[in-house]
Amino acid sequence: MKMACKGLQTGETLSSLKRESESLRKKLEEERRKLADVELNQAAEKVEVVGALSIKTRRLLKGHGNKVLCMDWCKDKRRLVSSSQDGKVIVWDAFTLNKEHGVSLPCTWMMACAYSPSGCAVACGGLDNKCSVIPLSLDRNENLAAKKKSVAMHTNYLSGCTFTGSDMQILTSSGDGSCALWDVESGQLLQSFHGHTADVLSLDLAPSETGNTFVSGGSDRRSNVWDMRSGQNIQSFESHESDINCVKYYPSGDAFASASDDSTCRFYDLRADREVAVYQKDSIIFGASTVDFSLSGRLLFAGYNDYTINVWDVLKGTRVTCLFGHENRVSRVRVSPDGTALCSASWDNTLRIWA
């Protein structure tokens, strides 16, 4: 720390600073490598194998006229919201297949959508560079699009959004390279998060009741962990060879997984501060676009651009099964709040519920 400050004072050149940064990076790698005394899959050899899974499509949600880009479950474990390329946002009771609300927004490529914790509103956004909140009216005839309220404003597309524990705040990620926390009522920016050097494609809030952190991943191939209070980047990981399309926390909050265009999914532990597993296969050559964990964290569901969902054994690193059914890219997978089902959204205009 001292040496670095001294550097600026004596007018060090950019290249000498870069050299310093490089040597620190090497030193850090060395320190971390000392802690890699075993591979996760080796340590997990003693764990019993997961039995054969018989996961099937239990519901097929048809109704979107174009690629479904995103979805999110409601806390009630059966409703969900989905958004598509043609600007449509639909709220479904996935159990009965009933479409409860449909909103047509004037913007195409609705890449992000989220259900509010209370279940009374949904948020969405995309190429309009905004995140808007739409209150869900009980009156079927009400024009929901008219009640839409713009909350977040970015300077490029909105890639992800999530409510942070209440209907009052939203966390967003954007193609403009930043993430931001917003107050819904006033639309005020509460905190911004800068550090990514390219589009941020995904974010996930830490599951802890007491924590104030979230993780983001982007086109700069990095995943960053942030402190929501200070806006600081707490931890950073760089091991993917292409865009990180999705990041998701392991249920305990001590680790997270990422999906990338390099066709691998990876698992990072925050306490060891390193990648502890890579999920890949010779026959999987298309990018992974989305990941989510089963309730116990034992299974990792990953959706790919080859239209399939691969189910990985998180601890052993092996693939347990592969789910076929979608007829185009899988854009999003999400396990329901009580872990009873997996929902997948696809460019084939449908959503599927698997159990």
């Binding site: 005394d37 298309f286 116990s296």
Partner: protein, 473 residues
């Protein structure tokens, strides 16, 4: 087939974005198809097949491709190999010689490999005029194998209407192409015609088939051809009427690394070096024990009691969760950690009930109040923070909590400019207190144990039986 433009050159750029997401996949597929065709290195045998009075040059059976994929890409399930092979076909790298639908079949169906000239990695964005020329020239040649399919005939009719004014030009170009094609020898023509058709099957797919040239708009601007400027397949000069496709290009300027940037990196790296990290063996143990603990609650791994509503269409499982009587299994989870107990509203209620019975509920109520504060709209934060101070921390507060002097000092400083994180230190301290003290006693309490062991309160079993006997006699 275009005569002059044999070299696959990117539009305008000399240094293609090799690591853009699409390129990565194309390179992988290209590696596969190159290996498949390498007969000296375990590839499939590409041969000429005799059919009635003619010969079919340069083909391979679908079954052979499936076998190769299974063997060389370690695929155990043929269905997986077929799926992968179909994707390779759908992207235009292999194609069935007698079908427009680009998929792989695990049988004697014959396939051919696409010429590298037509590979998707060359970023073709063929114009509709090119497509019109192509369909037009097909109608000029008197060959059964070149007859238009129904959807192609429809496409041609539509293009004739759209390009009515320049149809003469298109017709002439088609004639020119036919002349060029006639110069080639028979076998070569069969191959080239099929490859050209496969190219169009990718860019103008059969209705109902996936258009694999569709791109994720978020990645568009980094592609070699971000504006998707049309490049003619038949060397037709752009007459200036075609518009580049509207694509969402970022207004983000490419940032140059400054001294400040690198200084920030250095500071960050130093902070990381100071961090105390755990060994992988230790985190592995932690991950394994967490997972093991929760596996019985994971519906994908352990059968649920009662059945999973999505599978059986029976909602009893959900009704039970919503009822006031939490199951033993659910109560057991509250014992895993204070976090788990507080995560469950029923657990929170029971813990609060226990604390009230001990007249020490202020800690939990404070903790809950601070959680609520963090989730309030901005305009409410200041007043709510003050309320919390009055209730729990001020002199003579009705529900005084026990903070160490350090946390108390910090908090009273924070409260001068109240914000949603003013009570973070205090909340952390109180949480630790609850965890080490009251939570442990809660787990030993009757309130908790009764629920865990499903001991019914009130009537004992014998009492019930006696009443029953008395009623029946």
């Amino acid at each position: 087939m275009a005569e002059g433009a044999k070299e696959p050159v990117g539009v305008g750029t000399t240094d293609p974005e090799e690591d853009s997401p699409n390129m990565i996949v194309y390179r992988k597929i290209e590696d596969i198809v190159t290996r498949i065709q390498d007969e000296n290195a375990g590839g499939v045998s590409i041969r000429t097949v005799k059919s009635f009075l003619s010969k079919i040059p340069s083909v391979v059976s679908g079954a052979d491709i499936v076998q190769w994929l299974m063997k060389n890409l370690s695929v155990e399930d043929p269905a997986e190999a077929i799926h992968l092979g179909s994707l390779v076909a759908a992207h235009g790298y292999i194609f069935p010689i007698s079908d427009h639908v680009l998929m792989l079949k695990d049988d004697g169906t014959l396939y051919r490999f696409q010429s590298p000239y037509f590979w998707p990695s060359n970023c073709w964005e063929p114009e509709n005029t090119d497509y019109a020329i192509y369909l037009c020239k097909r109608t000029m040649q008197n060959k059964a194998r070149l007859e238009l399919a129904d959807y192609e005939a429809e496409n041609l009719a539509r293009l004739q209407r759209a390009f009515a004014r320049k149809w003469e030009f298109i017709f002439m170009q088609a004639e020119a192409q036919v002349k060029i094609d006639r110069k080639k020898d028979k076998a070569e023509r069969k191959i080239l015609d099929s490859q050209e058709r496969a190219f169009w099957d990718v860019h103008r797919p059969v209705p109902g088939c996936v258009n694999t040239t569709e791109m994720d708009i978020r990645k568009c601007r980094r592609e070699r051809n971000p504006h998707r400027v049309k490049k003619s397949v038949y060397g037709v000069p752009d007459d200036g009427q075609s518009q580049p496709s509207p694509v969402h290009i970022s207004s983000q300027p490419t940032k140059k690394t400054t001294k400040e940037d690198v200084q920030k990196e250095i500071n960050f790296l130093n902070s990381q070096l100071d961090r105390h990290c755990m060994k992988v063996s230790k985190v592995a143990d932690s991950l394994m024990s967490y997972t093991e603990q929760f596996m019985e609650y994971d519906p994908f791994v352990s059968a649920t009691e009662p059945s999973n509503p999505w599978i059986s269409d029976d909602m009893s499982f959900w009704d039970l969760e919503a009822s006031r009587d939490p199951s033993q299994q659910r109560v057991k989870k509250w014992g895993f950690s204070l976090e788990e107990a507080l995560k469950d509203p029923a657990g929170r209620d029971q813990f609060l009930k226990f604390l009230e019975s001990e007249f020490s509920s202020e800690n939990l109520r404070f903790w809950l109040a601070v959680q609520d504060l963090k989730r309030r709209p901005l305009q409410d934060v200041s007043s709510r923070a003050q309320e919390i101070w009055q209730e729990f921390l001020a002199e003579g507060a009705p529900s005084p909590i026990n903070l160490d002097s350090h946390s108390y000092e910090r908090t009273s400083q924070n409260i001068k400019d109240p914000g949603r994180y003013s009570y973070e230190d205090a909340q952390e301290h109180i949480f630790k207190l609850m965890k080490s003290d009251s939570y442990a006693r809660f787990l030993r309490s009757n309130i908790y144990q009764d629920l865990l062991l499903a001991r019914k309160k009130g009537k004992s079993l014998t009492g019930k039986r006696l009443t029953g006997l008395m009623q029946s006699s």
